[in-house]
């Protein structure tokens, strides 16, 4: 039987220094499989088989297609195909003004739309050199953390679904998570009027101020969510089957994760102490002392632990901020009254924020016309999916499903 991985025990792991960065020695410089392996050159032990996983497959998180080359049931090459959800968002944004483009980025990462909005809005604000008022900043921070909890709820649910199936214990965890996610969506719905595509932010501030009694509702919901978090942990953390499926599976080299551009929990589970909320604070994150959970094992279980800890930390931040939202306006600019209300100066900016999946960036070029010349959205999910050719090699089909789930990719964001 697979017993607990030793590196999950609370002992300080050996560290290795790479370019001024301390990384856990046990998982750094792992041998890297060749993603462009010629299948003809491979000599299988059992019979080789090519298996098409997706785009219609229960656990490819949308419409990812993985072409797996199996040696028996062990994968020796994996080729991901993305683009089934490609909607040309970047082209659309290049034909929309700053006012019009915010609702579009909601649809990129549909599990955490608010972070997508913030990344775009902050890029426009950096271009215009506009600072939102403190009330808007604190409100944005609260929204981001609420969105992070909701996003991790959905991730945990689907992760267990991948392991336990739609007709089993996985779906129990899944539905418990949705039960609490609904409560958070109720909060966001009361604030913005929508449950999914909020359009809650605008250049220079927020579009919606808090409704009366919202803060008390947030605090009550946080109590409930924290209470129920223990319930998911009872079903997962020490569960023998859950541990057998995740511990030691999909070990991600921190160097590979960095070079591939992965972020968020995928990076922090591999021992890289990096979080933009603390390292390059935006919104009101400078006012709170964000504690960053870091694990050093780099496997699926470590990613799970990091995300659970992030949920607790997000609850703490929300509680801290919601009781002291400063008074004042929520917008720095006049509320827009027509489509060209925001005049863009020429310039070129890049702004990155910490979305639940990693660094979500917006690279924006403007030449002074009402619409930008180029909007490039840096999706953390795309970089997570690009890790699959490395992580899937040596894993069974069952493991690949778990590895894919643990990376938390949102295909809407991958394909844009």
């Amino acid at each position: 039987m697979v017993d607990a991985h030793p590196s999950h025990e609370p002992v300080a792991p050996a560290l290795v220094e790479v370019s001024g960065l301390s990384l856990p020695a046990a998982i750094t410089h792992l041998p890297r499989p060749d993603p462009y392996l010629n299948v003809e050159d491979y000599e299988p032990e059992a019979d080789a088989m090519a298996l098409n996983m997706g785009p219609q497959h229960p656990s490819t998180h949308g419409v990812l297609r993985l072409k797996l080359f199996l040696d028996g049931e062990i994968c020796f090459k994996a080729v991901p195909y993305v683009g089934y959800l490609h909607r040309g968002v970047e082209k659309l944004l290049e034909n929309r003004t700053a006012i019009q483009s915010v609702p579009y980025v909601d649809k990129n990462d549909y599990v955490s739309p608010l972070t997508g909005e913030l990344a775009l809005v902050m890029a426009y604000e950096a271009l215009l050199d506009v600072e939102p008022p403190p009330r808007a900043q604190v409100l944005r921070t609260i929204l981001m953390e609420l969105q992070r909890i909701a996003s991790h709820h959905l991730w945990l649910g689907t992760f267990c679904l991948d392991m336990g199936g739609a007709l089993g214990g996985g779906s129990s965890v899944f539905l418990y998570n949705f039960r609490e996610r609904e409560l958070i969506l109720d909060l966001l719905e009361a604030l913005t009027g929508q449950r999914m595509h909020y359009n809650a932010l605008m250049v220079g501030g927020n579009r919606h101020d808090v409704p009366p009694g919202w803060e008390e509702k947030v605090l009550a919901t946080m109590d409930r969510v924290e209470d129920r978090l223990a319930e998911y942990e009872a079903m997962t953390v020490d569960n023998h089957i859950f541990r057998s499926r995740t511990v030691g599976v999909g070990v991600l080299d921190p160097l590979l994760a960095l070079e591939a551009g992965a972020g968020g929990a995928n990076l922090r589970a591999s021992g890289v102490d990096h979080d933009l909320r603390r390292d390059a604070p935006y919104a009101a994150y400078g006012q709170v002392d964000v504690r960053i959970p870091v694990e050093t094992a780099g496997d699926c279980y470590a990613r799970f632990l990091v995300r659970i800890a992030e949920m607790r930390e997000a609850i703490r931040i929300v509680r801290l901020l919601v009781s002291g939202i400063p008074e004042g306006p929520i917008g720095a600019l006049k509320p827009p009254r027509h489509v060209n209300a925001v005049k863009l100066p020429p310039g070129e900016v890049y702004v990155g924020i910490e979305s639940p999946r990693g660094e979500l960036g917006t690279y924006l070029i403007s030449d002074g016309s009402p619409i930008p010349v180029r909007v490039k959205i840096r999706p953390p999910s795309l970089h997570a999916v690009s890790l699959l050719p490395y992580l899937c090699v040596g894993a069974t089909v069952s493991d690949i499903v778990v590895i894919l789930g643990s990376l938390d990719p949102i295909l809407g964001e991958v394909d844009r």
Binding site: G193, D209, P212, I330, P335
Partner: protein, 171 residues
């Protein structure tokens, strides 16, 4: 090994405890357990002004701002039968809900407090034409009620940078 199996048993107590909990799914369409908040945005309505005429002045601000380009307004200037003043009226106002993304930007820019969103969905239809809202349907929606809290004026007052009161969002 033994401890791991015993820890696994906690999962059973969790699911067993949940058997007694209140169910959270809504038995739609028969019963709705929770009401939508007053800011909920689902449908559209064109409200009347204080004289009982359509408040829309056919300025095309919503048509221009709509990111999906689903609004078409055609207007003409004529004399009001009530006040006798001359102003623009919409001759046709078409809003295609098939491609609407419910971003509320049309409400955001409306200068005359005309267009508002509703908390109630339009009735499901059997063809795409059923989802195309015309001037008549939009005004009928307004008479039917279920209007969202957000009017163009309230939204912009809430976002105003010179706003004194920190407590926004009072309905």
């Amino acid at each position: 090994m033994m401890r791991a199996w015993i820890d696994t048993l906690f999962a059973f107590s969790t699911t067993l405890r949940n058997v007694g909990r209140r169910r959270v799914t809504e038995p739609l369409p028969w019963k709705r357990l929770r009401a939508h908040p007053e800011r909920y945005r689902a449908g559209f309505a064109l409200t009347d002004d204080e004289h009982g005429e359509v408040a829309c002045i056919a300025c095309k601000a919503c048509e221009n701002v709509c990111p999906s380009g689903i609004i078409r307004v055609e207007g003409e200037r004529r004399e009001s039968p009530v006040t006798g003043k001359k102003r623009a009226y919409p001759v046709s106002f078409v809003l295609d809900m098939n491609a609407c993304i419910f971003c509320e930007l049309c409400v955001q820019v409306c200068p005359s407090d005309a267009i508002r969103m509703r908390t109630a969905w339009t009735i499901p239809g059997t063809s795409r034409e059923d989802q195309v809202l015309t001037l008549e349907r939009l005004r009928a929606n307004a008479r039917e009620g279920h209007l969202s809290w957000a009017t163009p004026g309230r939204l912009r007052a809430m976002q105003d940078p010179e706003r004194k009161n920190g407590e926004g969002g009072e309905p």
